[in-house]
């Protein structure tokens, strides 16, 4: 087995190509596609199906760079992707993570607005943007779906803006954990196990912190019994209420 990552269950072998659209269990899609901010395709996207090509990227490989001509749009079959902005001196800000089944690269204009990198080994389906644009022109429902995705993105970005500008370290970490629990797992009633595909440095670059600060915050939550950390990439939330309380400003 290659990498000890969360999404291995979905399959990282060739078989996945026979089931290109993610299977949504329960009523998850109906319940909250937008609320959860996950860009999971609806019926409208099936018209793209025939023109998709399956491609694979290794861990830490670059899928495209900021400023590149936006030739393709992508749908994640398995694995996880980070979108980032780089500063001249190497400082990095991750603007979003994409997980299993989500779509990206559909919304950019002529050039990509940021780089996309594979966090784990990644399998994705790639669609020519020219084709996407044609469908956009022809199909009202598809276009509405795209606009809706753009709104979701903007809304998610605004939430991150508040985190970076006005939240403390504890609050950011708590927000991040709950966000990931909701996106990865879905149902998080009381206790949830989160399998994080990304490493500590990625979390740090997403939350505007250093890796050491992320570690310390997680350790503190562990010490307080709020979470358990069986392995580096697995986090068990024992007490989600405390996490929620932290977000609401109870330090």
């Amino acid at each position: 087995m290659a990498i000890n990552l969360a999404h291995s269950g979905t399959a990282s072998n060739g078989a996945v190509i026979h089931r290109p659209w993610p299977v949504i269990v329960g009523g998850a899609l109906a319940r909250g596609t937008r609320a959860r901010g996950a860009f999971i395709p609806s019926e409208d996207f099936r018209s793209l199906d025939e023109v998709g090509t399956t491609v694979t990227f290794a861990r830490n490989e670059t899928i495209f760079n900021e400023g590149d001509g936006a030739k393709y749009a992508y749908r994640l079959v398995s694995g996880a992707v980070r979108l980032c902005k780089l500063m001249a001196d190497g400082r990095r800000q991750i603007t979003d993570f994409y997980l299993d089944g989500e779509m990206f690269g559909f919304l950019d204009l002529d050039n990509y607005d940021f780089s996309a990198e594979a966090i784990t080994k990644v399998v994705l389906v790639r669609y020519p943007r020219s084709h996407v644009r044609r469908i956009e022109d022809e199909d009202d429902a598809f276009r509405r779906e795209m606009t809706s995705m753009l709104h979701q993105r903007l809304s998610r970005t605004h939430a991150l803006l508040v985190m970076l500008g006005r939240q403390t370290v504890k609050e950011r970490i708590a927000s991040f954990l709950i966000q990931m629990a909701e996106r990865l797992d879905g149902v998080a009633e009381d206790s949830a196990s989160i399998d994080l595909p990304m490493g500590r440095q990625d979390i740090a670059d997403y939350l505007g912190l250093t890796i050491e600060t992320v570690c310390r915050a997680l350790s503190e939550l562990k010490r307080a019994g709020v979470i358990a950390v069986p392995t580096t990439h697995q986090i068990v939330v024992n007490d989600i209420e405390t996490l929620r309380a932290i977000i609401d400003g109870d330090n």
Copy 2:
């Protein structure tokens, strides 16, 4: 005279209603509507003209609140507006400023995603969203314009994300000043005078800082001769090259 603000020249009297579309001097609109991130209307928006109502808000008045039903879209005739997100305990993050001639409230879904407040006395034209949606359905060019505005907003928000997550105080202030110089003034060859409509607290809430930190950073630039501050709301950039160098990481 009421308020010592930048945009008094454009007129804050009733006469402005006879000239509802901003007059763009020189080639400013053609040169850089998108590049500058200013949402200045194009021809496509004229179809809205008949249904607009002029309304006025006093300084610090709320135009709408986050979560309110998005009944109207707005175009700023004169004055300045801030969009903000509030946390339960009162912490505030400003996500964007809107200046003279720009449009806002067009892009939200059913409910506004943030509050809008008048920074100065504000004159704006208000359009019913139902009408906007109808035009959107009927007019391809208009719809494209809206999508383009949405992209601009997203791109601007990403830039702010990098500032909040990874830039130092000096870098943020320098970025802010250059951004404002470009948006308010346009041509900033060597030295530029910026008339800031917003106060220090607004700048702080935009850049994720405290008001004291903003003051200190400005004072330091003043001491170094990079800027002059004739009045609180007026900033003269003496040495834009140094500002640019600061952004690129030369501290």
